[in-house]
Symmetry: C2
Subunit: 343 residues, 2 copies
DNA sequence: TATATGTCTGGGAGCGCTACCAGAATTATT
DNA sequence: AATAATTCTGGTAGCGCTCCCAGACATATA
């Protein structure tokens, strides 16, 4: 198809290569009729400039890398990441960037991919998902001079631009909601405790207990791993501590946990109430519908890309932190409607 | 970091740029000690060749595009696609290709992205997800001379390399299994009927009925859309036709459908048996565990990439069709174990 | 009319590689 | 020892763009 070059188009439209370049890049200083003539030739021939050549000459690839570290293995177990990816892809399209996907399965993958990400002139910027404690990847990437934005608060957040939701506050609200409904033995199923998300949500849980004069009971806190199975296993453990309500750090885990309750012959929310986190479409479809924290996942991705592009196009500025809002969505699993009916 | 060029490395190791290039690309005709010397300098400096320059000079970008047409809107609704993407990403890493993700939300996106995909010298090859009938995208891509592999049988399958599972056979087996268990009123929840997957699975369903002397009843066939909500709605419609078993064209739809059964106060499999399709992790965790057709999703993606790379590296050969095997996984939702206990 | 200011256009250098070619150095063959 | 074959190395010409500069042309200002 487009084996044509700028010179071919130049010749066909009787101008110089420079002028064609100007037309293609929408630059000023081209007479109107000339511009139209060139545009017409481009249209007719179906010409598209060679991106490799453009990237080499302009030192810009118009490509953004999305890096998902191997430590975040739940990518495809948790619908969160596909949704995030979707938001990111949409934003990239909108801004005419191509999205490169760097999905790492294993730490060895990381070694293999790192050079590719770090090559100068290959990526204009990188969006990295925050991983687990001790993960060196982000720090290594930050050391390169390449523009970078982290999705989710990284452990060393000094001097790194990142975007996150206020997990502490969100969890605080979720658990406070349960406390206000009168639950006294509120359990928690956390995510893998080696990530900031998990730590922050746990922190919110603890603060809420404190704020409502409830004692912290270690037996009521179990670590999950953001998967349904993880939620299931955690809940089996939690059951013996006899919680009257449970805050799960993700909807998927809440669903797994609720399965345990059902299998034990107990009811949600009458015997054990639940609040989840994410507000995936699943949440409103579960039985009973799940009360949860709504995260604007897709917008989160879009915003992340916008920040990154700003960084790319307007240079390195002091690292910027962006915190997005969440919202408690009350459905039936927390027993709020149930309780109101009773009163 | 790597603001270095080949010439810098050449100078530092006292050889010419050509020799360094040979070393980097593992070409022969470099004296052993020279090679080692150069390698050492590369290591020490952390040099990585500029990919844009390499792509321009060699006319190879080492980049593969994964194109998901807007008609496949269920990218994040259905865990199938994330899993597929994972397999694809893994294979790309393994073969040192970078994966470009072209996720189209709307038909307008398609217009915007198409030029980017078709640009000569930008992508070495394209893997496209088969879309819906009338979707022009694949045909447009095929017209370009770029190597292309379609995931899922396209409508016009002449002269296009594609990879798929034998959906007809798989559905046939699933439904035959139900028929053998003695169910007589076997319903079907199909996918959007404008795609080959859906048509093929429906075809398999019909053939199985035929093969077991069961009448085809239009009221027992309802169109879904591969989402849980779609399955839910389809089942509500299906319920009045009083099926004793249902074949759902995806696990996710089966799950939605089973929810209807539960809400109607009926039991699975005693009142209505179910067989799904995909064998997602969800399937073994549902209540009851779902009998389903196992697809090797991740391997499917890997195989697709391998075919594409072969196409890229060894030139255009006659279009190749690859069909992968599926397997019926019997769990409890079909009532097989239940029936055996009764007998 | 002469000069300044602004608008338009083409030429040429260069981005950092690969690939080809010619010649030097080394080894094998007569 | 002379020649042929092979291994090794550097020089050079692009790949297809962008970007800068100089000059042509058009319009505004004195």
């Amino acid at each position: 198809m487009s084996d044509l070059t700028l010179d071919d188009i130049a010749e066909k439209s009787g101008v110089s290569r420079s002028t064609v370049s100007r037309v293609i890049n929408g630059q000023p200083y081209v007479r109107k009729d000339v511009r139209e003539r060139v545009l017409k030739v481009i249209q007719e021939t179906g010409f598209h400039p060679n991106l490799a050549a453009r990237a080499l000459a302009s030192q810009r690839s118009w490509m953004i890398g999305l890096v998902l570290p191997s430590s975040v293995s739940s990518f495809f177990a948790d619908p969160y990441f596909p949704r995030l990816t979707q938001g990111i892809a949409r934003a990239c399209n909108q801004h005419n960037y191509t999205l490169g996907l760097f999905l790492m399965d294993t730490p060895e993958d990381e070694e293999k991919i790192f050079p590719r990400v770090s090559r100068k002139g290959f990526l204009d910027g990188v969006l990295v998902q925050s991983g687990r404690i001790g993960d060196q990847l982000i720090e290594r990437l930050v050391k390169l001079t390449i523009p970078i934005v982290v999705a989710g608060r990284p452990f060393h957040d000094d001097d790194v631009s990142y975007i996150d939701v206020d997990n502490v506050k969100a969890a605080f609200e979720a658990v406070s909601h349960l406390a206000r409904l009168g639950y006294r033995r509120i359990g928690a199923i956390t995510g893998n405790i080696n990530s900031t998300v998990s730590l922050d949500r746990k922190e919110g849980y603890l603060r809420a207990l404190l704020g409502h004069g409830l004692a912290v009971n270690k037996a009521l806190i179990v670590e999950g791993d953001f998967t349904e199975v993880g939620g299931y296993l955690a809940m089996r453990q939690l059951l013996s501590a006899k919680p009257d309500a449970v805050f799960a750090a993700s909807d998927v885990m809440a669903l797994g946990a609720m399965r345990v309750v059902r299998e034990a012959g107990l009811r949600v929310p009458e015997d054990i109430a639940f609040v989840g986190f994410d507000d995936l479409p699943l949440a409103s479809l579960s039985d009973p519908p799940l009360t949860t924290i709504h995260q604007p996942i897709s917008e989160f991705g879009e915003k992340a890309i916008e920040i990154l592009i700003d960084l790319i196009e307007n240079g390195i500025m002091p690292a910027r932190q962006t915190i997005m809002d969440t919202k408690l969505v009350v459905r039936e699993s927390c027993g709020a409607t149930h309780k109101m009916v009773l009163e």
